[in-house]
Subunit: 217 residues, 2 copies
Amino acid sequence: MHGKTVSVKKDILSANSKTAEQIRSGLDKHHVRMMNILSSPGSGKTSLIMKTINRFKDLYTIAVIEGDVASSIDAERISRLNVRAIQINTGGGCHLDANMIEKALTDLELEHLDLVFIENVGNLVCTAEFDLGAHKNVVILSIPEGDDKPYKYPAIFMEADIVLVNKIDVIPYFDFDLGMFPEVLNGINPSATVLPISAKSGEGLDDWFAWIEQTLT
Amino acid sequence: MHGKTVSVKKDILSANSKTAEQIRSGLDKHHVRMMNILSSPGSGKTSLIMKTINRFKDLYTIAVIEGDVASSIDAERISRLNVRAIQINTGGGCHLDANMIEKALTDLELEHLDLVFIENVGNLVCTAEFDLGAHKNVVILSIPEGDDKPYKYPAIFMEADIVLVNKIDVIPYFDFDLGMFPEVLNGINPSATVLPISAKSGEGLDDWFAWIEQTLT
């Protein structure tokens, strides 16, 4: 990359981190927890968020910020659950940034909220660099993508607080070594929790719900 | 995005296009065809390239340029087929650019080559903007990712000459409407060919090989 680009990028990342810190303290003031959900396209971010809403919507007030390059398919799916969903279209941008989240949060009444999910743009690369002011980074890796992804996309796995290995209902049809995976991940990120789940069949979701409850208390 | 960033980005893209044109005419002079293979992480780029090498390596001289954020797992897999594989690590960058390809091509003897495959970084967003000097853009979408991806990541599907719908061997376990998919894609890109394949079982690969042969003549 050219020197000029690198310096512009540094400026952007440093401004982004400041905004992210402001967001986090604003949320803390109102006891709102925010989770940044990250994965490749089609790994199951929306399905996971929907199952989680169904589990917790009678206990907590939840909102979702939906990031997509284009379309509002996912925000429409979420809205059908009677939960507030705010769509951000990046118009070609490969990730959300803290400014977009700050703007989206002004549309939500923080004093009446408990939990915000951010569904980031489906991308294992650029999303990793931008702190969005969330309290936790949740990375989803699905079985069909393969167990070598932490080696190939280390930055995002380094930033993860928890890695959900999704679509374990189809594990018989793919070469994914679930037994070895925690070791693969630990080589890159020794502190991340690993949970095998199926957002479709529901397997493993109780562990995920327990993890959510723990982060809320 | 800030005005400064937009203008730097425009400069980069315009310089990239010029380099890409130079690459393409250099390849044309030596009758070499180059294909840019694009997809999400884990959609089957490497598996497809390996099957294609095995089909054509006695007929054509083939080389592969492997793009990854980190690691050289894929280049090692390719090298085992006795085909020249050049690894590019972007070190955090979410796509290859024409400069990287130009540099990689200097390590290859174009006068002895017929076919070059570029395996781009696994990413449906940033890779779309950068012309690499290839003759064809091959986009792979795998069944587990879902049939709504052209709506969500339109730019890359607009740039595709062919879309390979991979992993059709597992279609019974996923909600992917293969019958409707050509219509979904045509709404965004009316001229792209759609081929359902399984790089694993081999189903549909003959059509892909025929397409390759057609582009070589």
